[in-house]
Assembly symmetry: C2
DNA sequence: CTGTTAGCGCTTTCAC
DNA sequence: GTGAAAGCGCTAACAG
C-alpha cells in the first residue's frame, strides 16, 4: 500500500503569498505583538490564513524566538488521585497563561525520573515541575540536582512540590505539622493506641508524616510500638498489603491505624473489612491528603487536607513569578485536619 | 533586580567545535541512525557533549526533519479517574515508543475542545487522541470534524476513544452492550424496579449506556418509569445531586439505581447514605467503568469493567499502526459485568 | 567516512 | 508601515 499523499501543512510563506504580502507582514499580522500593521493588510492575511487553514508551527516559532511555551510536568503516577488533582491544577493554570503542558510519569522510579528530566530538557520548557516525593537516596538525588541545575543555568525554571531543602523553588506542603496536628486531634478524640502504615524508608514525604504523627503523640506521652509500624508501597495496594501484614501480628489493642496517605488508608480499610474487622467499630483509620474519594468511602475517611489543585496552580504561579528567578523561593500551603466518620470520638 | 545572566544552552555547533569535528559528524554521532561514524570521532563527540551538558533541541530537530515525536492527548478532566486511568495507559505506551505526550483538558466544554484541537495542531503532533464523550451537538461536532480532517490531511493521525461513527480511527467501548449485559445480570439477581441517573442528553456515552440498560430490561418486560430517570452532570457531584433529586420524588418501590458511570454512582451512594438510606439494604446501586475506587467503596460497587489503561495503550497502538492510515480503523475493547456487594442477589 | 552547504518555518533586525 | 535578509539549531543531501 503506497503511502497516502499528504499535503504539507500550509506555511507562513504560503499565507503571505496567498495574501500578496511579505513574509514579515504575514508574521506580524498573525502573531506580532505591536499592532504596527495596516488593517487592510492585516485582514487580507487573516483571510488567507483561514482559507489555507494555517496553523503556526510552534517548533519553528520556538526556534526562531529562542523560547517555548511549554511546561513540563513530572508525576509519579497519573492514575493516583493525589497526582491527578495536582496535575489538574497545573494544567488549568498553565492553559490560562497560554502554556502547553507535557506530562511524564516516573512510576515512582528515581532512575526513571532522572532519565525523564534529562530527556525533558530537550524540549526547552520554560518550566519544569516535579512532583512526587523526593527520596533521600543520595546518588540519584545528586544526579537529579546536577541535571536540574544545568536546566536553571540556561534560564529554565524549576519548581518542586512537597518538601523543601533542595536548592530550587518549591511549593511546600507541611507534612510534618499536618501529621502532628492530626495526632493531636486524634488523641483529643480519645484514641490512645496506634499503628501506622508507612511508605518506603527513603521517601521524604512518608518520613515527615510519620515523624509528625509520632511527635504529636509524644506530646501526650504516647508512642507507637515499633512492631506496629509497617512499611508498604505508597499505593492503595501497598496499604492493603501493609494492613494485612499488620493484622497478622495481632491488632487487638490498637484503636487507630494511621496510614501516611489516603490511598494507603483506603487500601487498608478494604483489607480490614475483608478480614471481618469493623471500621471504625473495632478499629479506626486515618489518612493524609484528602483526596476526593476520602469522603465517599464508608466510613468517610479522617485525613489531613492538602488543597491539591491549588498546589498545582501555585506551582505554576511560582514558576512564572519574578521572585522565582533566584531559584530558591518557597511557597507554603496550609494543611488542615478533617475529622470524619472513620475516627469518631470515643 | 537585573535579569540574571543565563548562558544559552550548548548547541550542536558548540559540541562540534569542542570535539574538533564538523557539525554533520557531531549530529551523526549524537543522533544519526546508521553507525557510519568512526568510533574515535564518536567518542570525542560524546565526551564533548557530556562536558558541555549538551541536550539536543527538539524544536530544532522537529523543524529540520519535518516531524515531531509528540502525542497530544485531550481529556475532559484529568482528575476524574476514568480519564486519568486512560491517560496512564496512553503515557506509558507513548513513552515506550519514545514519544512525548502533551495534555489538554476540555473541562467538558465542547467549545473549549474545539479551541484546544485547533491550538494543538500547532505542535504538529504525530498523533492526536481525543477522549471524552462525543456530543451530538451538531455545530461543534462539524467544526471539530473539519479541524481534525485538516489535521489528518497533513499526515497527522487521529484516534477517538469511545463511540464509533466518526470518520476517524477509534477505540470503541461497547457501552450499549455492556449496559445491556448489566441489566440482564441485575434482573437475574432478582431486581425488578429501576431508576437511572444519567448525564447530559447530548453525551453519546451517556445515551448509549442508558439505551443499552433500558433495552436489557426490556428483554424481561421491564421498563424504567420516566420520572425515575434523572439527569445530572457526568461527575461525582452530578451523581450526588441527581440522587438527591430522585429521593425527592420518592424511591419507595425502586430496588436498584443505575448510574451511567461510576463516579456518579459513588456520588449517589453518598447521597443515599446521607439521607439515611441503606445500600444495598434499602436500595441497590450499580455503575459503569469499574474505576479503581469502585471496589473500595462500601458496599463495593457493581459495575461494568472497561480496561481503562488498556484502552489508552490501544489508542496509541492504533494511532501508530500502519492500518490506521486509512483513518477509519476501529478497535473494540470488551466490557465485562462485575457484580459486587452493592447489588446482592435478592 | 567526513565535511560543506542547503534548507526547515518562523521572527526580527535593518533598510527603505 | 513594509519588505529583504539574516539567522535560530539541527538534519540531510551532496560532494569529496
Amino acid at each position: 500500500m503506497p503511502a497516502l499523499p499528504h499535503a504539507a501543512p500550509a506555511t507562513l510563506h504560503d499565507v503571505a503569498r496567498e495574501a500578496g504580502v511579505s513574509l514579515a507582514t504575514a508574521s506580524r499580522s498573525l502573531n506580532g505583538s505591536a499592532r504596527k500593521v495596516n488593517d487592510d493588510y492585516r485582514q487580507r492575511v487573516l483571510a488567507a490564513a483561514a482559507r489555507l487553514n494555517y496553523s503556526p508551527n510552534f517548533s519553528a516559532q520556538a526556534i526562531a524566538k529562542g523560547s517555548t511555551s511549554t511546561v513540563a510536568l513530572v508525576v509519579s503516577d497519573i492514575a493516583d488521585p493525589y497526582f491527578s488533582s495536582i496535575a489538574a491544577g497545573v494544567i488549568r493554570a498553565a492553559e490560562a497563561e497560554g502554556l502547553i503542558v507535557t506530562m511524564a510519569v516516573t512510576e515512582r522510579n528515581p532512575e526513571r525520573e532522572l532519565e525523564l528530566v534529562r530527556a525533558l530538557r530537550g524540549q526547552r520548557p520554560r518550566v519544569m515541575i516535579l512532583t512526587g516525593s523526593r527520596s533521600v537516596d543520595s546518588e540519584h538525588q545528586a544526579a537529579l540536582i546536577t541535571e536540574l541545575t544545568a536546566f536553571t543555568a540556561t534560564g529554565g525554571r524549576v519548581v518542586l512540590i512537597s518538601q523543601e531543602g533542595l536548592p530550587f523553588n518549591t511549593v511546600v506542603v507541611d507534612n510534618y505539622l499536618g501529621a502532628r496536628a492530626l495526632a493531636n486531634a486524634l488523641v483529643a478524640q480519645g484514641y490512645r493506641t496506634f499503628a501506622a502504615l508507612t511508605g518506603a524508608e527513603t521517601l521524604v514525604t512518608s518520613r515527615d508524616r510519620l515523624a509528625g504523627f509520632a511527635d504529636g503523640l509524644a506530646e501526650h506521652g504516647i508512642a507507637i510500638h515499633p512492631d506496629r509500624v509497617v512499611r508498604g508501597e505508597f499505593t492503595r495496594d501497598g496499604g492493603f498489603a501493609a494492613a494485612t501484614e499488620l493484622l497478622a501480628t495481632g491488632l487487638e489493642q490498637v484503636d487507630l491505624v494511621f496510614a501516611v496517605n489516603d490511598v494507603m488508608a483506603i487500601g487498608a480499610m478494604s483489607a480490614l473489612r475483608e478480614a471481618g474487622i469493623d471500621v471504625p467499630g473495632d478499629i479506626a483509620v486515618a489518612g493524609f491528603d484528602d483526596i476526593d474519594t476520602a469522603r465517599d468511602v464508608t466510613p468517610a475517611l479522617t485525613t489531613v487536607n492538602i488543597p491539591l489543585t491549588d498546589v498545582g496552580r501555585q506551582a505554576v504561579a511560582l514558576a512564572l513569578s519574578d521572585t522565582a528567578r533566584t531559584g530558591d523561593e518557597a511557597v507554603r500551603v496550609a494543611t488542615r485536619v478533617i475529622l470524619r466518620a472513620s475516627s469518631p470520638a470515643r
